[in-house]
Amino acid sequence: MASQAYEAGRRTSSTARRRLSAALWRRPWLRALGLLVPPLGWMVIFYLAALAVLFVSAFWSIDSFTGKLTHAWTWANFHTLVSDPTYRQIAFRTIWMAAAVTATDAVIALPFAYFMARIASPRLRTTLFVLVLLPLWSSYLARIYAWRLILNHDGALNWSLAKIGLPQQGWAFTSVAMWIVFSYIWLPFMILPVYAALERIPDSYFEASRDLGARGWTTFRRVVVPLALPGIVAGSIFTFSLTLGDYITPSLVGNVDFIGNVIYRNVLGLTNNLPFAAAYATVPLVVMALYLAVAKRLGAFEAL
């Protein structure tokens, strides 16, 4: 009796399961929905909703006497960041640095990735991969402090320069220091997509180019660089956006403010002006939106 009931129960449960799987098979959209709801829900609630709050609060203001949040609609924050030359200067400085870091990383990454993808033996390639990725496994702060030790007036760089009789460098806490550290920190994010783009080029393209009379440099210029370009643009999305949003490197190795520093101070610092921080935070967002639109046109998303 008991075993019969058990059998019957098992049968119904397996029928139910079969019916469910048949229903899913007949309606592919139902399956897709089941797979997408959890991550999409997460995105909508924690990311898009937060962004929406950010945009809305950018139109609020702070009462200068009480320091309390006023929920009245105003363009004042945006007016300040456009009209105040300090904020304009900080924004341009940040964008300029992001562009310089991106260009530097592209110039370094292209030959490196080319060597990795086309010349190195499989063993050497693995070793280089580890070397590229290794810094990412260590703390970001530790690496920036390490650079502070290198660039300090009595740091490793000046010590080495003195040993070989070269003049001392005063790069500590300057834009040069920031440029070097940013370029170093984001380099792996440029190398990997460029490598992926170069690795996909069939050998026959290189052979065809040589066969048609092109020497190494011509092949590089006319075939390799254009085919690596989507990878470079994909990498530049990382290097550009990461520099744009960073405030730790400027505060640890630099001497001037970036967009991130201003936001940070308005959120947690003395000024405590959240609406202004929100308004200023839209600047890198808008810059990135424009950047991505251009990148999309250059085919960067096929190289990711």
Binding site: A208, D211, L212, A214, R222
Partner: protein, 353 residues
């Protein structure tokens, strides 16, 4: 027609009809322990359509790559028009290659692809345009210049790859299984098309060296062919030569059906279409029994087991027989007859005939 755009080369091929364009002397190439090409000697005459035929891994593609300059031989010499080019880079050789995967640059338009060789050689813009236009007309795709390769069909890409090589008017055109990626129908069309293009450009004397594993393709297209096996050349000759007088058992088997018999210490081959089959099983000829019947539409293939040992394939046109007649003949005793002049002695593997 094509002479307008392709520089004059007639003098070479016309005044010295037996001029040799490609010469390989004792060429050997190994990859680690694998011998890809084993001391190959080869001469291709100017203006010829020469085919390297063989199964995969037989060394035919490596041989082609040695001529192109993508590989350097471990031993031996590669000569182009009598000049030793063994140690020259591909861009220093007057040859162009049509790749198996076409290798069209995806970021360039068709016209830019075709003009690539002229551009890197700094041919002036006006002449470049003129020659690209002309060659696109020769391959009968005059209007695709502005498209990207990805927008073309397989057969069209194949022609563009051909145009990109031909526009440079090389002395030797190397083709590495160029029709391998096409389906049967398109392949047959392109075979005819390739021969037409070769005739059209032959006025300027471009030699075609063609790699394929398809024996039918080799027989229909070539002036002469070399049959490769395990890195060596088994036989060089005209298609009729190689088909009707196969020098080795391998050639007999690879080019056509292997029909090798051993009688009175003599090993010989006889082609299936040269054998007469008497279905009544009486009269002259060797007695045997039909073991297998394959109906192929135009003809039927019979595999006959001979009473005195061995097996022969016989091909009969389906003049009156239908498929059911043919298939019912399985197991029947027959007699096979052939003329002595249609048999050819085989070299034994590793020895003389």
């Amino acid at each position: 027609m094509a002479t307008q755009t392709l520089p004059e080369r007639r003098s070479v091929s016309a005044t010295i009809p037996s001029a040799v364009d490609v010469r390989l002397l004792g060429v050997r190439k190994t990859y680690g322990d694998v011998v890809a090409v084993d001391r190959v000697d080869l001469e291709v005459e100017a203006g010829e359509f020469f085919t390297l035929l063989g199964p995969s891994g037989s060394g035919k593609t490596t041989t082609l790559r040695l001529i192109a300059g993508f590989e350097r031989p471990d031993e031996g010499r590669v000569e182009l028009s009598g000049v030793d080019v063994t140690s020259r880079a591909p861009y220093e050789r007057d040859v162009n290659t049509v790749f198996q995967d076409y290798a069209l640059f995806p970021h360039m338009t068709v016209a830019d692809n075709v003009a690539y060789g002229l551009r890197v050689k700094n041919v002036p813009r006006a002449e470049r345009r003129q020659r690209v236009h002309e060659i696109l007309r020769v391959i009968r795709l005059p209007d695709v210049g502005d498209r990207k390769p990805i927008q073309l069909s397989g057969g069209q890409r194949q022609r563009i790859a051909l145009a990109r090589a031909l526009v440079n008017a090389p002395k030797v055109l190397l083709l590495d299984e160029p029709l391998g990626a096409l389906d049967l129908k398109l392949r047959q069309e392109m075979q005819t098309e390739l021969k037409r293009i070769q005739r059209e450009v032959s006025e300027v004397g471009i030699t075609f060296v063609y790699v394929t594993h398809d024996q039918e393709e080799a027989l229909t297209m070539s002036d002469r062919l070399a049959v490769f096996n395990e890195g060596r050349i088994e036989q060089i000759g005209t298609p009729a030569d190689v088909y009707e007088h196969p020098a080795t058992e391998f050639v007999a088997g690879f080019v056509g059906v292997s029909n090798v018999l051993e009688r009175d210490g003599r090993r010989f081959t006889v082609r299936p279409e040269k054998i007469q089959m008497h279905l009544d099983g009486t009269g002259a000829g060797e007695p045997g029994r039909i073991r297998d019947v394959v109906y192929v539409g135009m003809f039927t293939r019979y595999v006959v087991e001979l009473d005195s040992g061995g097996e022969l394939t016989v091909v009969k046109q389906n003049l009156e027989t239908s498929s059911t007649d043919a298939l019912e003949s399985r197991g029947r005793p027959v007699r096979l007859e052939w003329r002595p002049e249609h048999t050819f002695d085989m070299e034994r593997p590793g020895g003389q005939a």
